[in-house]
């Protein structure tokens, strides 16, 4: 490093006045000394890019006792667990994948909030040994922020196979933070990592003195210095890092700072001025990123050596599979196979068929319902109260039955398949395959994730739209989820209804597909703004890990049962109330003419009304009518189309209000309402004219 004068070690003696750049706001040695026991564990956050093995390290530390919850105010999942190393208790936090401290996505924002708000005691920065060059700038950012960083160079086994060698000792000397080489999937280096963590926390007093301090170019430093000097409040990270984020034009940090500083207006004004001045040639954020990258390259020189690839990742069977899934000629047939086996055969056939049949016809119809009915009849003499619990629309006999017997197996099997697909690294490939098509409807390939999730549960998918970049994209995705994406509960029943009539099923698919594209296109044209550009990392495909898949599925099921099922039970109560007070009859009278206009028997109005409370209720109501032979083939198709498009269920609607605001939510619902009947009406005319389905 002889020629990199820009990189100097920050020694406590020589640059003592720079001490404020450390973690001055957090220096509470007395408090820390008492921590590390079960009641008051130390916090260990695992951060890093997506796909570097953070979760594997997390699982290795925490074992089975993990809670996955949404980060407060967001929908991003953060897993927490606990571990004890050498008698010291830790709370381990697995943060969402982040590329830098300058967030683009909601996930990255959450990661930064964890670091900014939770006073973390150890930050494990996990990087990929194959890509040290690219990931080290993030390490530099973390060090610059004065965080207690421990660098984990993971996937050492894969790097070795590619002929890449990492000299951890040399890197450690240069960075001034502990560097541990691991291969987490094999468990290699994990014991060393544990030992280093314990060492690390016991030397907390002098470790910041050793950390590398690298200087940017004079021009950049001249921009940072005055901003840094103006910061007066205590921050959980260094003032230097705050100053850099401010100059980067980071709105969230601006808000954060203006809450803390007494003369915030003046400060931010000065920041804008400086940023404008330096930004005239190159935007500040870009030049700082380039300089950081250059510093990373200098640091890595000699510490990471690469022999000519003995075997590149793009060869062999996995390499071939990687290519095949990305090439549109082979990728699209593979996609269809994945959908066919994953969704149609497993979720539709096994989950919605075999398991539902067993739970419905055996468990509930034979055992639970008669038992509850008898019990209620014997002990509750009041008809009104009794019908709340039992009978055709009772909370137990209908509400719980649907939740346990229909929704649980369908949604559960969907979440299982989705977790497998997610863990295998297939979703980014799906995203890149559909990007071009999604651009037409104002979305990018990235939105394929909430849209696919919508086939499982529209409510969860609507929450996940938060991960999309722009508001426009979020609104379009919410609209399409509400209108044209049937959730798995609904899909299961409709499949069951139409499965024996391939032509009917095809007709339904065509109409829903057309509604999806036309609505998306219209929304893209009518909503102002432009589509964000698309970029996505394509990790190599890998065999999903059983423990990851199980923990993800369990976490989603738990969410479903805690968040959605209560709303469903509430819906049962509302239905009971509506029937009791006659409100339902009034609503039914309103819907009936619309239903009749579509050529359907008036009784189907019930299905539509219930469809609002729960989508599957509606479809199941239809199922009952069809079983009774009340519907012709054509009526069945028309009703299925209209019911799929019909307004989203009560749970999804409430999330729409929360996420998009009441105005947008009502507009979307109103649109879905009219679209359902209009398309249903057209479908009836078209099918009648063609006479394809009797």
């Amino acid at each position: 490093m002889k020629d990199s004068g820009k990189i100097s070690r920050m020694t406590g003696e020589k640059q003592g006045m720079k001490e404020t750049q450390g973690r001055s706001g957090r220096g509470e040695p007395g408090r820390r000394a008492r921590r590390g026991n079960a009641d008051n564990p130390l916090k260990l956050a695992i951060v890093g890019n997506p796909n570097v093995g953070k979760s594997v390290i997390f699982n290795n530390f925490t074992g089975l006792y993990v809670t996955v919850s949404n980060y407060p105010g967001t929908t991003v999942e953060v897993s927490r667990g606990s571990t004890r190393i050498d008698g010291v208790d830790f709370e381990v936090i697995d943060t969402p994948g982040a590329y830098s401290l300058l967030p683009i996505t909601e996930e990255e924002r959450v990661t930064r909030r964890v670091l900014l708000e939770e006073s973390v005691d150890v930050v494990l920065h996990v990087i990929d040994a194959k890509n040290v060059n690219r990931m080290l700038p993030f390490t530099l950012q973390l060090i610059e922020a004065g965080l207690p960083v421990l660098l984990v160079v993971n996937m050492a086994d894969e790097a070795e196979r590619l002929g890449i060698e990492v000299d951890a000792g040399l890197l450690e000397g240069r960075l001034g933070v502990p560097v541990v080489l691991t291969a987490s999937t094999l468990g290699r280096g994990m014991d060393t990592l544990r030992r280093r963590i314990v060492e690390f926390i016991s030397t907390s007093a002098n470790r910041s003195a050793n950390q590398l301090r690298f200087a940017y170019s004079d021009r950049t430093e001249k921009a940072i210095a005055p901003v840094e000097a103006m910061l007066e409040a205590d921050y959980p990270i260094s003032r230097r890092a705050i100053a850099i984020m401010l100059l980067n034009g980071d709105d969230e940090i601006r808000a954060f700072v203006s809450k803390k500083e007494s003369h915030a207006r003046e400060l931010l004004g000065r920041v804008d001025e400086i940023a404008r001045e330096v930004g005239e040639v190159t935007p500040f954020a870009y030049s700082i990123a380039m300089e950081r990258q250059a510093a990373a390259v200098a640091l890595v020189k000699g510490a990471v050596t690469s022999n000519a690839h003995p075997r590149s990742a793009s060869t062999g069977f996995s390499g071939l599979l990687n290519r095949l899934t990305m090439n549109p000629l082979t990728g699209i047939p593979i996609l269809i196979l994945v959908l066919y086996f994953g969704l149609y055969r497993f979720v539709g056939g096994f989950g919605a068929g075999t398991v539902v049949d067993f739970l419905e016809t055996v468990v509930f119809e034979r055992w639970v319902n008669p038992f509850v009915d008898n019990l209620v009849r014997a002990f509750i003499p009041y008809e009104a109260i009794g019908s709340l619990l039992a009978g055709d629309y009772g909370v137990i006999t209908l509400g719980l039955r649907y939740a346990v017997a229909i929704v649980f197996p369908i949604v559960g099997s969907f979440f299982l398949v989705f977790s497998i697909i997610e863990d295998s690294g297939y979703l980014p490939r799906l995203a890149m395959l559909v990007d071009r098509v999604f651009k037409v409807i104002g979305l990018t390939g990235r939105s394929v994730i909430p849209i696919t999730l919508g086939f499982g549960c529209g409510t969860m998918a609507t929450l996940v739209t938060r991960t999309l970049e722009t508001r426009r994209e979020r609104v379009i995705a919410t609209l399409l989820l509400a209108l044209a994406i049937p959730c798995s509960a609904q899909l299961g029943v409709i499949m069951g209804l139409l499965a024996t009539r391939p032509v009917a099923l095809l007709t339904w698919m065509i109409f829903i597909g057309v509604a999806f594209v036309v609505t998306g296109r219209l929304a893209a044209i009518l909503l102002p703004g432009e589509s964000p550009s698309f970029y996505m990392e394509l990790p190599p495909l890998r065999l999903p890990s059983v423990s990851n898949v199980v923990s993800k599925t369990v976490a989603r099921m738990k969410w479903y049962f805690l968040e959605i099922v209560p709303i469903f039970v509430l819906a049962s109560v509302l239905i009971w109330f509506g029937k009791l007070t006659g409100l339902f009859d009034a609503a039914m009278r309103l819907i009936k003419p619309l239903v009749v206009a579509m050529g359907l028997p008036p009784e189907t109005a019930v299905a539509f009304l219930f469809g609002f409370f729960r989508r599957d209720y509606g479809a199941a109501g239809l199922y009952d009518l069809a079983k009774a032979g009340a519907l012709s083939g054509r009526q069945l198709v028309v009703a299925s189309i209209a019911l799929t498009l019909f307004i989203p269920c009560i749970a999804q609607f409430s999330v729409m209000i929360k996420e998009r605001g009441i105005g947008v939510a009502i507009l979307i619902a109103a649109f879905a309402f009219s679209a359902a009947f209009t398309v249903g009406y057209i479908a009836n005319l078209v099918l009648g004219f063609l006479g394809v389905i009797g």
Binding site: S100, L102, K130, F534
Partner: protein
């Protein structure tokens, strides 16, 4: 011209799209960069080979990127698309896929047009 059409028009113009580009227009379609990139002092003024000019399997070294917005810039930084880095184009359809270091990324036409390579 309605507000919407204006917006749309500006958008195409800014992104350096050509009407009637599309699939038939070749994959590296459109003018180099947008009008602002050609302004003196801006890096785009020099012109040059871009990522989308490469054929599948070809490599190049990044000279600079001419991001149209802060967001795009952040995306480039996240991917490590910075001057001096070597990139290898893997495929062009349906989106551009390139390898940088040991990672692969997919980007759309818009982004691929703003990555300039050394001659």
């Amino acid at each position: 011209m309605s507000a919407f059409v204006q917006e749309r028009h500006r958008y195409r113009h800014r992104r350096g799209w050509r009407w009637g580009g599309g699939w038939a227009g070749g994959w590296c379609r459109g003018r180099v960069g947008g009008p602002e990139s050609a302004a003196p002092g801006r890096p785009g003024a020099g012109r040059g080979r871009r990522l989308c000019d490469l054929g599948p399997g070809e490599e190049g070294e990044i000279a600079f990127v001419d991001a149209h917005s802060m967001r795009d810039l952040q995306k480039f930084m996240a991917m490590g698309v910075l001057p001096g880095a070597r990139v290898k184009l893997i495929q062009k359809l349906p989106v551009y896929v390139f390898r940088i270091g040991e990672s692969e990324f997919a980007i759309d036409d818009e982004l691929s047009r703003t990555i300039y390579l050394k001659a």
